[in-house]
Subunit: 163 residues, 2 copies
């Protein structure tokens, strides 16, 4: 049990490293940079941060922790692409949402025990989970960490210097 | 012990998912696409794939598995930036190196037991590892998985369609 909790702590640490990397990049980038496209014709920084915030918000119900804090983000940042023509919240709002959502997750994560991470997430039924026990909460965390890393790599392109 | 091995299998699975994502993208992209920059003035696809291959190659000694298969990659793809002026191997060579290195890692990973992943990696001394036991092989795997995800997000920009 001890080594199980130890490993889960390492997986959680990788999550926090990425949250902090995005936080730090958001402090560094100007609003103008965040409003530009990461490459010609591709997503803007604002869209990517809104997308990350919306996806993390959906982890609250998916991990059976809480309701979403900002369900309004889904329509603009998950269901529709950047060039949808839908009105987007401001850079400031999206940054605040991003921080608020991650803080909320952190509050819940800090109370979770190792064994809680091995329970099913809410997109799989109890019956199916018996057959597919890897579809647990830890898997959501692993896959969302890689999801942040994926878009973080893109957000880095907004920096002026060569990466 | 069983749940420890189960969790490590999940972490490994996340690694393989990303290797396969890059493999699949490499089948999809033309040489011309791989030779272009992911965004104006930024790294080319070729450089990023070479960089990933070189970093994965360095996992062989870091995880105490083997010598590097292609030590020549380090100079061009880790120690120097894309625009170094150094001659680069061809797209075909880099793709072959990438596959060969990941296959080699997979061969070793398949023989590793859960407890092997909790041993120190080769960049930390035995003395320091007693104080910092999270600096184990699993941590290398977690961080390298996020590293692939990071650059995979950038490589996706080479696709013609909007991502």
């Amino acid at each position: 049990m001890q080594s199980q909790d130890f490993i889960i702590k390492q997986v959680l640490e990788a999550w926090y490293i990425h949250i902090k990397r995005v936080d730090s990049l958001l402090r560094e980038l100007s609003d103008e940079q965040l409003l530009s496209e990461i490459a010609p014709g591709k997503n803007t920084g604002l869209y990517l941060v809104g997308h990350l915030a919306a996806v993390h918000d959906s982890m609250l119900p998916l991990l059976d922790l809480d309701k979403k804090l900002h369900p309004e983000l889904e329509e603009v940042f998950i269901k529709n692409p950047d060039k949808s023509g839908l009105q987007k919240p401001t850079v400031d709002t999206v940054k605040k949402n991003w921080k608020e959502i991650n803080d909320q997750l952190e509050g819940y994560f800090s109370k979770m025990r190792g064994e809680d991470w091995l329970k099913r997430h809410m997109s799989i039924s109890e019956e199916d989970f018996i057959k597919e026990p890897h579809r647990n909460k830890l898997n959501v965390l692993l896959s969302r960490t890689n999801h942040v890393a994926n878009h973080f790599g893109q957000l880095l392109l907004l920096k002026k210097k060569h990466d």
